[in-house]
């Protein structure tokens, strides 16, 4: 049913561009090795990368398996409507600015348009999909991994930049899907797809919050016959139950305990970290370092990150180790440049309410790992606070990691 999301014969890019810092430009570039038909859509260009560019998707005459929408939120509903009219049944909406930004009304419009035309969509606010075997990479991660047997379904897209880069030379992927806001497609559809997919051996899930836990359990049970191993990492696992609850049951009911039980019922293995999950999924040891050395229980950490999901995971590890995370992780978003990091470090200078800084970077297409490492070194020179770096990935963060380690900053490449 959703096969065409990962194996399309033709892909329209709505918001295609030749600009390397625009999502539409990154995607066009990354599809260079793709054997199917690419249809750029953008009223501002007559041609792109030597291909004819169409003002609207309706102007293209052939059939389109999959459309990717990467334009500002206010124009997305109209673009989706046009996809419907064109008869496109599968759409990925990368654009952000919907329910995650408090704009649920606009998201409702997407659902209505999809229902009207009988199309399915992934997102909005998602990181896209990747299928290395078909040379399809519709994500803006800096690295496209090798093909392989592992599927990854993630509620945080930016974690893909880390995992895809980290995987190089270690293991490959049968597919990746970033779920974003899950306004339409959710975990269940992709779990079923990968369970039926012959090239997939194991599936890794990164879960922040399920929309319908009972549907999740029944889907996993239904798919048990395909004998695929499923591993899950749950963000927010350190959260306690309600304080001052009416009942003991409510105060004892932490997210982690409920997930521990419910995942058993689903036949899913709950893992401690993404590294743990991928080690189990690949049945091999992936170079591991201790999770949280240096810091001591009772200390306070400030977390700066360009990936919300990585920030959530690492603050979980902190809580488990008895380290308090001051407020919430500071999320500079996936587009953060070295200058953005630098400005965030600058704002920390006057603060005294923390003991150490955890700086997280996942290599996304607009990231500058080395320059960010330099900015972190500058901060370290002028500050007495301890610094720990999580530059998550492999080759894309190797030079930055060397630089940090040479200057005696502890730097991890995995979670």
């Amino acid at each position: 049913m959703i096969t065409r999301f990962l194996n399309p014969k033709s892909i329209a890019i709505i918001g295609a561009s030749d600009h390397e810092h625009k999502v539409g430009g990154v995607l066009m570039k990354k599809l260079e090795g793709y054997k199917g038909k690419v249809i750029p859509v953008n009223p501002g260009h007559a041609s792109l990368f030597g291909m004819k560019c169409y003002p609207r998707i309706l102007d293209y005459e052939g059939e389109i398996d999959l459309a990717v929408i990467a334009i500002p939120a206010e124009f997305v509903a109209a673009a989706l409507e046009q996809c419907g009219k064109k008869g496109v049944k599968n759409v990925i909406i990368i654009s952000a600015g919907f329910s995650e930004a408090g704009n649920s009304k606009e998201e409702e419009k997407l659902r209505a348009a999809a229902a009207k035309h009988g199309l399915r969509f992934l997102g909005p606010n998602c990181f896209g999909v990747c299928n290395p075997a078909e040379h399809i990479d519709l994500t803006f991660s800096a690295t496209t991994p090798e093909k392989g047997e592992i599927a990854f379904i993630s509620q945080s897209g930016a974690l893909w930049s880390y995992i895809s880069d980290f995987s190089v030379g270690k293991f490959g992927f049968s597919g990746f899907a970033s779920l974003g806001n899950m306004a339409d497609l959710e975990f269940e559809e992709f779990i079923e797809y990968f369970c039926r997919d012959k090239s997939t051996k194991a599936i890794v899930l990164y879960i922040e919050k399920l929309k319908d836990g009972r549907k999740f359990i029944s889907t996993c049970r239904k798919c048990a016959k395909f004998k695929k191993s499923i591993y899950a990492v749950k963000a927010g696992a350190s959260q306690r139950g309600q304080e001052a609850a009416f009942s003991h049951t409510a105060s004892l009911a932490s997210d982690y305990k409920i997930y521990k039980g419910s995942m058993k019922q689903a036949g899913v293995v709950l893992c401690e970290s993404l590294r743990d999950a991928f080690e189990k999924a690949t049945s091999r040891k992936l170079d591991g370092e201790p999770k949280m050395p240096l810091a001591e229980a009772g200390e306070k950490a400030v977390i700066i990150t360009n990936a919300g999901g990585a920030g959530a995971l690492i603050s979980d590890y902190c809580e488990k180790a008895g380290i308090e995370v001051v407020e919430k992780p500071i999320d500079l978003l996936g587009t953060a440049s070295a200058a953005d990091y630098s400005a965030a470090f600058e704002r920390l200078r006057s603060r005294a309410d923390y003991d150490f800084l955890i700086c997280i970077l996942t290599p996304q297409s607009m990231s500058e790992p080395e320059k960010t490492a330099e900015a972190l070194l500058d901060f370290k020179k002028q500050s007495k606070k301890k610094v720990i770096a999580y530059f998550l990935g492999g080759d894309a963060v190797a030079a930055a990691t060397d630089l940090l380690r040479k200057n005696r900053i502890l730097c991890f490449n995995n979670d």
Partner: protein, 198 residues
Amino acid sequence: MKILREKEAEDFLKKEGFDIVEGAVVRSKKELAGLRIQFPWAMKVISKKIVHKTRAGGVILGMKTAAEAEKSFEKLGALPGFEGVLVQRMMMGQGEFAILGLKDTPEFGLVIMVGSGGTKVEELDDVSFRVTPITGEDASEMLKEIKLRTRNEEELKKNLLRLSRLAEKYPKISELDINPIVITQDRGVIVDARMILK
């Protein structure tokens, strides 16, 4: 939202096939003298004016004779808003204390819990959760996951499964605590329960 405390919650559970500790509400010394409940007793004041019974001196434990019970009744009778006294047989030393619970969650609907019961459940934090309804196999696994061992595991499992059936029958339950349920050689006796309906 509706809150059912003590007697109300216990009466509800009794109708659903749970075993509730022997007890009765009495409003006079005459009614007290007529009780046929095995000693020792626990006596709890019934008063709308008292929220924290233990703190207000509204709970007296361990009466072994009718004379001791009468004295305690007089003490409780002097408390503000006195309406009567709940007299219960005390189960101290008769078995192990377990807790059973249900809670409605946004992600999974009603989840079910079993664990070490008593007054220090939060400190012990020895509990296991599942999504309702559970199978016999789920129940056995849950009992294996917790540290609590009782003299009659079959009895605790029976009550856990009964609670799972209750959850299916009453989806309107928002929270339910059964704490403790005392697991004796031949019974699983509920001493205290509270419940919120949506």
